[in-house]
């Protein structure tokens, strides 16, 4: 008895064959093919159950909003397109006239151009620098002196914790919590220790040799903990990134200062 080819069995399983009756008859009589069909069915069910287990909810609403915002029409101004060529032609004529006039010794245009060049040269000799464009400053953080613990809400699901001024004896413990707010608690805070907060941001400066406990909400979309300028802990949805091996890892991640 000729057996059903593997691809045909798979197509039968996926309802992709037209002549099912013929295959039904064969499968009723051939234990080899029936066993092979069972194996394919089990493999198919395994794959489906495994990939389904990792699925997350699609952010359909947010994506739709983003696409709608990107679909805003561009307003065109046809009148401007007509004016530009004329303006360019006019400027070209003026420029040519100025060059022609400047070529004539004693011409007022020549004197004006010379004066303009001298004033530019003067600026350069004085080295008056054109001020650099300053980056927009971050929102001024609120300054909370003397506090041992601070809690904030994430901003758009994001949290940034910045710790600085740690000595080698400092210990930073990062914990994931079920509460919706992030917190930073500094034990044995020194007189110089200070907290600063901003939207979705906690800074603890001059922590010295203190023990710092950072609590990050599990529900936070993104979170980052920096210790003296280096990132030590990052969370992106349900993925964690540890930038250096933590000292201990049971229900928390422990980092030491001043490596």
């Amino acid at each position: 008895m000729a057996h059903i080819e593997e691809g045909m069995l798979q197509a039968y399983l996926d309802n992709e064959v037209v002549a099912r009756a013929e295959l039904d008859t064969h499968l009723a009589q051939c234990t080899t093919c029936a066993a092979e069909l069972d194996r394919l069915r089990s493999a198919s069910q395994l794959f489906a159950s495994v990939v389904h287990a990792n699925d997350i909810v699609a952010p359909t609403s947010a994506a739709f909003t983003a696409i709608r915002a990107a679909r805003r029409p561009i307003v065109r101004k046809p009148a401007a397109l007509v004016r530009v060529p004329l303006a360019r032609a006019a400027m070209l004529l003026v420029g040519l006239a100025a060059v022609a006039s400047a070529a004539i010794p004693g011409s007022p245009v020549r004197a004006w151009i010379s004066e303009a060049l001298r004033s530019v040269g003067g600026v350069q000799q004085d080295e008056t620098a054109i001020p650099a464009v300053q980056p927009a400053p971050e929102p001024a953080p609120s300054d909370e002196r003397g506090a041992a613990a601070v809690t904030i809400e994430p901003a758009d699901g994001r949290i940034l914790v910045v710790l600085s001024g740690a000595t080698a004896e400092a210990t930073v413990r990062v914990r994931l919590v079920k509460t919706p707010r992030a917190s930073v608690q500094v034990s044995d805070a020194t007189a110089q220790s200070r907290f600063r907060t901003g939207p979705g941001r906690i800074e603890a400066v001059s922590i010295g040799s203190a023990e710092v406990v950072v609590e990050i909400p599990r529900a936070a979309l993104e979170a980052r903990v920096e210790l003296d300028g280096r990132p030590v802990f990052e969370k992106n949805r349900d993925q964690l990134r540890l930038h250096e091996p933590p000292a201990a890892s049971d229900s928390e991640f422990v980092f030491k200062g001043n490596r």
């Binding site: 593997e6 794959f47 287990a53 359909t60 994506a63 949805r237």
Partner: protein, 166 residues
Amino acid sequence: MTLGPRGLLDFDSLFQKLYPSLFRYLHRLTGDADVADDIAQEAFMRLLRQSLPEAEVRPWLFTVAMNLVRDHARKVERRSRLLTTAPVLVSSTPLPDESVERSEQVGLVRAVLEQLSVRDQQLLLMREEGFKYEEIARVIGVAPASVGTLIARALRRFAELYGSSR
């Protein structure tokens, strides 16, 4: 029903119908929700410039999405080759407490899927999204008559890899 400049309402309902499936496919393929969302949105943005019969929309979307996945993979690879700083230690440490088991499972499935060829991943994931063999053949670029065999072999490989990884 044709998609076009007058078909804005059609686009909206198509989006609601197809985005979840495309996102799910891309998330299963890449393991990254942000990348899946970005690529799905980009594919739909490109769809706005097309005029297609409705039956062509889904295969077209998934084809464009796969091209974008490949572009993304090339960019990531190029970026990692250009890194001059020491590589950052990426820990596969799962979330503690009750998420440990789930995180291990997520990692295991990703590790097994990544051992399949990209084509095998595409075949199996498109099949999971309910694509017919003819549509799968068109998107992947194989003969329709060979799709059944390719799927059967990919499933067998997946089952073997998954079994040996546990």
